[in-house]
Symmetry: C2
Subunit: 337 residues, 2 copies
DNA sequence: CTGAAAGCGCTTACAG
DNA sequence: CTGAAAGCGCTTACAG
């Protein structure tokens, strides 16, 4: 493998001159530059990433801290990962995977070993233990998701509250006065997924404002349990004819159960939901919905992180909530009164 | 941040002595070692990963090359990624994500910049363009999946042929003499997913051996198309009462369609399938099946790669096919004759 | 067993 | 605009 010294010799210049054309931080005579570039091409030279990192004190790598080991229903996770890698690459950053069960420990180790320049934390929970080491070390980081307290760290997430309002309004606009709200099991609320809470609270508030009566059903986890809960909720003769869903397992099972009960959408039931586009695609879900947008959220998060890396003394940390987009799929009919 | 020089000074020894206790490659007097370790603890010192990499000429990072951008139906991909990262960590390797659409280019760049010590290639296709640069550079690598020709590179994959045989035998053992074989759309065969071919050919051969008549149905892509194809295949009055499935989209849709047609398993239909455990879990599939095992395959692949890194002049490249495990779920009934 | 020196492949002030 | 020198933080022969 050719080194910068080989290139310098081949071009008949000093190593520092080669470095100057490599980094582009200095002005070099076009003629000299051409000689250097010819030598680079001839020797098929590439900069040694690690050596440059040592000299510049920047690894040009981002650490991606992702919790995999808590069984989460997340076919969308891969989408986030690749979106983050793509966004990072646009800024010439690589992505190092930090998947240890002990995320906090992984962070401390990676920071101490100077393996990365900054961190992206995925699937944040309410009191996320990974935030501690970041605050302690003051290491640059961005959160994708929302903890109880961002503690001065930039955070990006979908605006679940706005999503809830959009969906409630959509039902209310169609004239519905009552709806069954199928939400997450209690464990999800308790385990600190703030999206569950943010959606629910906003849905309740907006429903009150729009005088829509919400019948809240917390569906248990597990396919069989979901099926049973759904059948129970839908089979009641007094059940509202509108469904507001925020629960991936439930919305995935919904077409099957509705069909089993001989119910059709939107004739028998109006349905709106918030779920990931990935889930909708895999299950071919035919419902008007607000879709979480991993690509947009990931790109925004990386952009914010890189900007902060470039200007460390920039403005205070920001929390960015991405406005949800409603995708209409004709699953809502006017209420019959 | 403390450096090795700070530690040496604090402990009153030379830098090389600190390095000796760090690497453990030399014998150090217990007393000296204790002094060094105390200094390390006091200064909260960690080895700079990049500096060590430069000195040792080993990054201790594996590059994970994954094709994301060809829309693949793969909720299991995240499982592979984390399994690879976990396996790598057991050998003290980190994982750098290489997700560029141009995988071959990404490989050349990463190798040239010496960013990684070896490569893991995921979702291999028949004539995978990423194999070229690996053969050219002779860089250590392992394939997860099976190309047409491994070209002297280690490869690990599930034994799809054995999986097919196990499932065919399972039906034959129950007395079935004919079965409908629901396989992938033609595009999948043509796009070089060798698993499709390997399964099909073995299923055909084993069925012939067991005198099981196989009615091969290649199901088109797309949720609606799958549904239609399934209904057509199952609604025929002359349709065999046994189903052999190798197609994720089809098996995911199967419970719904069977239900729509008022058919039950195993009373009306015996069903066996090969699909990922992840898919089975998400869709709660109740079928006896051979499940692809991302964790086992990934771990094996990384182990093989690391061994080759340790002993570069080891034996010739090996192709390892992981034996499939049959998970029985009582979806097969004896044939009625 | 310990230490002084050279080297890994770069970049970056600093002279000229 | 170009070059010689020092330095990034380690490891590794090589003396002693």
């Amino acid at each position: 493998m050719a080194t910068i010294a080989d290139v310098a010799q081949e071009a008949g210049v000093a190593r520092s001159t080669v470095s100057a054309v490599l980094t582009g931080r200095k002005v070099v005579l076009p003629e000299t530059r051409a000689r250097v570039e010819a030598a680079i091409a001839k020797l098929d030279y590439s900069v040694d990433h690690g050596a440059r990192a040592l000299a510049t004190r920047r690894t040009m790598n981002l650490g991606l801290v992702v919790r995999f080991h808590e069984a989460e229903f997340s076919p969308a996770l891969a989408t986030y990962i690749v979106a983050i890698a793509d966004a990072a690459r646009e800024h010439d950053y690589g992505v190092l995977l930090l998947t240890q069960p002990d995320g906090a420990g992984a962070i401390r180790a990676a920071v101490a070993a100077r393996q990365v320049d900054a961190l992206v934390l995925l699937n944040i929970i309410q009191d996320d233990p990974r935030i501690g080491p970041i605050v302690d070390t003051g290491f640059p980081a961005v959160l994708i998701g929302m903890p109880r307290d961002t503690q001065g760290i930039d955070a990006v997430d979908l605006d679940f509250a706005a999503g809830a309002r959009v969906l409630v309004d959509h039902l209310a606009d169609a004239g519905h006065r009552e709806a069954t709200f199928l939400t997450w099991p209690d464990e999800v609320f308790q385990s600190g997924r703030t999206y569950a809470e943010r959606f629910r609270d906003a849905a309740v508030a907006e429903a009150a404002r729009r005088r829509l009566v919400l019948d809240i059903v917390s569906c248990p986890a597990g396919p069989e349990q979901v099926r049973d809960a759904l059948r129970t909720a839908l089979a009641r003769s007094t059940a509202p004819r509108a469904l507001l869903v925020h629960n991936d397992a439930v919305v995935a099972m919904l077409p099957t159960v509705l069909h089993e009960l001989g119910l059709s959408v939107p004739d028998d039931y109006s349905v709106v939901s918030l779920h990931s586009a990935e889930l909708g695609r895999i299950f071919a879900l035919p419902y008007t919905s607000v879709e979480s947008e991993p690509e947009r959220v990931s790109k925004l998060a990386v952009d914010i992180l890189v900007r902060r890396l470039t200007a460390p003394d920039g403005p205070a940390a920001v929390t960015t909530l991405v406005a949800p987009r409603l995708v209409e799929r004709a699953s809502v009919a006017p209420a019959v009164s």
